[in-house]
């Protein structure tokens, strides 16, 4: 066994990220690690790559126990990691980037010609036709990925860790990358590969391990698995069909999207969908699928798009968020740093989007504001010591409620929510769901993306699945199940 993890445990505060995981990697194999968000994949990778030194259990390399205290330590032992967020310095040239972090270079004089030669060889190895003198910021994402891999391969690499390397790549570049991984495998390098794409997993994997809730629940040769069994192992249960709840669906179409296309990445490819008045429509899709981009585009925040969008039968193509809000469309961003102003008070956060209503003559009328916010805050069951407390001091769930309050106070016709309960505790999640149902019942249309499959099944009247910027399926409530969604999100067919 090239690399082995034995009984590894890791807790972050009260949450157990990994509970007693053992895992082995052979030389010359591609071992895919699969699992839902939060299953413990990243923690496992960070331990292997030396980014987390503080854990229980043992890591063995070539049968010897090792414990890396830093990524540099792991690198010195021949373990290289390529993360989702690329770690190149944009302003430096490709050659300089390839040299960064190499031992012995920290204070040494840089030998220009030597560096360039080394860089050229490293790039040739990954089949990249890039001038080593080009600054990294001038490269495409795919080229940067290749540089990253070239850097990982410089030196005596034995274990290569790849974390969703194709999620940001267009199809041809992704194919090239997979071919490259196959070559590395032939050269005897062991690869740990994380992916959310079924097709890719089965194309590249020798063995597949599934993590779920911090435990390894399955390790099998890829040839012994099929997509259906893999998805079931990731979810941990055979999620049956959800009973159909009869909902009154008014037929008036609120939002009609026809052939919405965005050329820049993340791309949208002729997306069409409809949301009726009072309907709750879910969007499913992995990172880079376009689900989040679609919401941003509908809020006037995705730059140039083509296609037709109608809101209540009137052409709708906002150029910026302010114009979208003026048309009665509100948006909640998935990243809390983009939705909550931590330094500002709860009150100031809540009324920011509807401030005109509370300041008819430029002067803010606080009593008016206070009344509206305290009324609305009981509606979302906000728990805050005071409306004047800074929003940043609240719990994650309550911060999310503050951001939702801001949307509510604009009295939207259409509510766009990007992963509304990410990082939110169960109580707050239930409160948010109750609120959204109530809003829908009073005629507000809701279009939401979620990375939580259970949430999509629980909340949505209908789910639209996106893959690679295209709508690949629309599931009515009666057809919804987590396993079907997951398979479709990963590009599979059910």
């Amino acid at each position: 066994m090239l690399l082995e993890l034995r009984h590894v445990k890791k807790a972050f505060g009260a949450t157990l990220a990994l509970r007693d995981v053992s895992f082995g990697l052979r030389a010359g194999e591609v071992h895919v690690v699969a699992g839902e968000n939060g299953a413990g994949k990243s923690t496992l990778l960070r331990i292997v790559a030396g980014a987390l030194g503080d854990f229980e259990g043992e890591v063995r390399l070539d049968g010897h126990a090792v414990r890396f205290q830093s990524p540099a330590g792991a690198r010195a032992a021949g373990i290289r990691a390529i993360h989702q967020e690329l770690s190149l310095v944009p302003a430096l040239s490709v050659a300089d980037n390839l040299l960064l972090g190499e031992p012995g270079n920290a204070f040494a004089c840089v030998r220009r010609r030597h560096t360039r030669e080394q860089a050229r060889r490293a790039l040739a190895r990954v089949g990249a036709d890039i001038d080593p003198e080009t600054p990294v910021e001038a490269l495409s994402i795919a080229e940067r990925q290749l540089v990253e891999i070239a850097r990982a391969l410089a030196g005596k690499t034995r274990v290569l860790v790849l974390d969703e390397p194709t999620s940001a790549l267009p199809a041809p570049a992704a194919a090239r990358l997979l071919a490259l991984v196959a070559e590395l495998k032939a050269a005897g390098i062991g690869c740990i590969y994380i992916s959310h794409r079924l097709e890719e997993i089965f194309r590249i994997a020798d063995r597949i391990s599934v993590l779920r809730d911090g435990e390894r629940v399955l390790t099998e040769p890829a040839s012994a698995l099929d997509p259906e069994r893999l998805v079931r192992a990731m979810l941990g249960r055979d999620v049956g069909q959800v009973p159909v709840v009869a909902r009154s669906r008014q037929d008036a179409v609120r939002l009609r999207v026809l052939g919405l296309t965005r050329r820049r990445r993340p791309a949208l490819d002729a997306v069409s969908l409809e949301v009726a008045r009072g309907e709750v429509v879910g969007l499913a899709g992995v990172e880079g699928s376009g689900a989040s981009t679609l919401l941003h585009a509908l809020f006037g925040d995705a730059g140039d798009t083509e296609g037709t969008v109608e809101l209540d039968g009137v052409r709708y193509g906002p150029r910026d968020p302010a114009r979208a809000l003026a048309r009665g469309v509100a948006f909640l961003a998935s990243d809390r740093r983009a939705s909550v102003l931590a330094e500002q008070s709860v009150l100031e956060n809540a009324t920011l989007s509807s401030l005109r209503r509370f300041s008819p003559a430029a002067l803010v009328r606080r009593p008016l504001e206070k009344k509206a916010v305290s009324r609305a805050s009981t509606r979302v069951r906000l728990k805050a010591s005071s409306l004047d407390a800074p929003a940043g001091a609240l719990s994650g769930g309550n911060q999310q409620k503050v951001a939702l309050l801001r949307c509510l106070l604009t009295e939207p016709r259409l509510l766009l929510l990007d992963d509304p309960t990410r990082g939110v505790d169960l109580g707050a999640r239930a409160d948010v769901h109750a609120l959204l149902r109530e809003l829908a019942a009073t005629g507000t249309s809701i279009l939401f993306r979620s990375t939580d499959l259970a949430e999509l099944v629980e909340l949505a009247d209908r789910v639209v699945v996106l893959f690679d910027g295209r709508v690949v399926a629309t599931l009515e409530r009666a057809e919804l199940s987590e396993s079907r969604l997951l398979a479709l999100m990963m590009g599979g067919v059910t």
Partner: protein
């Protein structure tokens, strides 16, 4: 400086109950800002320069001396709350002083016309900076650094490199002393039986206006929001670009106002005036406890910061510290005051 730790020393001797009261008091940024000011005042009272510190004219002088830079600090507070910085205020002040003198002394324009015209010029200079920051998305530091150089150049050009005073060169080569317009006397005068300088009142008015803008108006909320998180503000429908433009425009306007006061006090327009004032203005804002990272801050804190800096200078000069030592001590005390306030903020959290 030896008196610096005095307030914390007394707190350590206080009883448990008083300790918690002290802590809740320190939770307020205004109280925290007052601690360095009180320390400086105690320092002044202890040294007191043979009783000079206890005379009203000393305090009247402090209030007059901080007025011009204090007006700059008002505009600076608005820009910093919005997450920016304005390095051009010292130069725009000089441009204001020179253009005011040019209009009134050289061309005999009345104050009622000259003041609005100069204010408009300052606002224009600020708006240019603001437009570059907001629409061209250039870094505020670079834009206002360029404006600092440009406005200084414009002031020198307008004044042909010399002071514009009431001493005017005639075509035949002789000089003539034209009478100084009344507006100079008014701005440089005192009110309430000579107890308060007019420029102090102008400063007070600037503080009041800034407070009203930041704390009461819709645009004030927008300024805080933009400084807190540009992205979150944009996604909340805040007119982020117009808000940024406004911040720099207001700062330019205040700088021109300070320039008018400066010209009136010096009775001429000096293109070299206001050198380094932008740094004093920033120091006043920071001494008040406003963070340069934006989103937070109040002009009342800046007022306290201005008083702290003004009194520090006064106490040091009253007690005949040399200029060199004054600079050294001011630098040290600036750092200590900010460190100290941060410690207090953390202890009370």
């Amino acid at each position: 400086m030896t008196q610096g730790p005095q307030p914390s020393g007394s707190s350590s001797q206080a009883s448990q109950a008083a300790g918690s009261a002290w802590r809740s008091l320190l939770a307020s940024p205004r109280v925290r800002a007052l601690v360095p000011l009180v320390a400086v005042l105690l320092f002044g009272a202890a040294l007191n320069a043979h009783g000079a510190f206890f005379e009203w004219q000393t305090h009247r002088a402090v209030l007059r001396e901080i007025a011009v830079e204090g007006i700059l600090a008002c505009g600076m507070t608005v820009v910093i709350v919005a997450g920016g910085i304005d390095l051009a205020v010292g130069s725009v002040l000089a441009l204001g002083a020179v253009s005011f003198a040019w209009l009134t002394l050289r061309h005999g324009v009345s104050g009622a016309v000259a003041i609005p015209a100069v204010l408009a010029l300052g606002a224009l200079a600020g708006a240019v900076s603001g437009a570059l920051v907001a629409f061209a998305r250039m870094q505020a530091f670079i834009v206002t650094l360029a404006m600092m150089v440009f406005a200084r150049g414009l002031a020198k050009e307008l004044a042909s490199g010399q002071k514009i005073s009431s001493y005017v060169a005639l075509p035949d080569g002789r000089f003539e002393n034209v009478p100084t317009p009344a507006v100079f006397g008014v701005l440089d005068g005192r009110l309430f039986g000579g107890q308060l300088s007019v420029v102090t009142l102008v400063f007070a008015a600037a503080v009041l206006v800034t407070w009203f803008v930041l704390a009461r108006l819709r645009i004030g909320r927008y300024l805080h929001a933009v400084g807190s998180s540009f992205e979150a503000a944009r996604l909340s429908g805040v007119p982020v670009r117009a808000t940024l433009l406004f911040a720099y425009l207001l700062s330019g306007l205040f700088a021109a106002l300070a320039g008018i006061c400066q010209a009136a006090q010096e009775t001429h327009g000096d293109p070299e005036t206001g050198l380094g004032y932008e740094l004093d203005a920033i120091a006043m804002v920071v001494l008040g406890g406003t963070s340069l990272s934006g989103g937070r801050g109040s002009v009342l804190l800046t007022l306290v910061g201005a008083l702290t800096l003004g009194y520090l200078q006064k106490v040091l000069s009253l007690n005949a510290y040399s200029t060199e030592l004054r600079l050294l001590l001011t630098g040290v005390i600036l750092v200590l005051a900010v460190l100290f306030q941060r410690r207090l903020a953390r202890a009370s959290a």
